[in-house]
Symmetry: C2
């Protein structure tokens, strides 16, 4: 395999495995061996559902703003902010009025996100 096959773009809607997470909330997923990237698009005011999984997660807000819930804390986030969500901590995000784009990283990769489907997975 050519190394060129490992190169992608955040805006290319034809790349990655598409997944509808919730109303107005979609992602494209790119799986590696040790980590998985998820390029998440939030329509204005879209929100996920509180969930958790054993994999560590990092999120980077690329555009827009919103409120991140982790555990029992709510933290306002804007473009340029990033955060770590330790495995097993319940979390979700609600976008603000402009919507948002978030790059999520899962490590190790979430097995449920390697295949087509919808929602946030079963977690545990």
């Amino acid at each position: 395999m050519s190394q060129a096959d490992e190169f992608f773009n955040l805006d290319d809607q034809d790349q990655g495995l598409f997944r509808q997470l919730a109303p107005g909330l979609t992602t494209r997923i790119f799986a590696g061996d040790q980590a998985m990237l998820s390029v998440v698009s939030f329509e204005p005011n879209a929100e996920g559902t509180l969930h958790q999984h054993p994999e560590e997660q990092w999120g980077v807000m690329l555009e827009g703003d919103g409120v991140r819930t982790q555990g029992d804390e709510e933290i306002a986030v804007k473009a340029g902010d990033f955060w770590r969500t330790p495995g097993g901590v319940p979390h979700t995000l609600k976008a603000g009025a402009k919507g948002a784009r978030v790059l999520d990283v899962f490590s190790p990769p979430r097995a449920e996100y390697r295949k087509a489907g919808s929602g946030f997975g079963e977690g545990q």
Copy 2:
């Protein structure tokens, strides 16, 4: 520990573990349990040195442009592009005339980057 302690910003120069990688090339490192983020700043035309390590790496070009070398291939990259570098593949990046900012993800975390120092580490 409060979840608020897990929140950071790409522009906050006081956060992360500073590391000088090469002339005109610095980073701030944030280590988790399963993954490590590195917020890398390239001055115009700055470049790293070809190196490799067993950990998987992902890179996201946040600003600027440059040329990514992976294996024996050279691939032009610009803001919005991202790529996976499998473990053991030699790689480096040279920024263009505007400089660049790149978010790197290592999984698992690179042990050498958990401590203060300079350069790209010993790799293997």
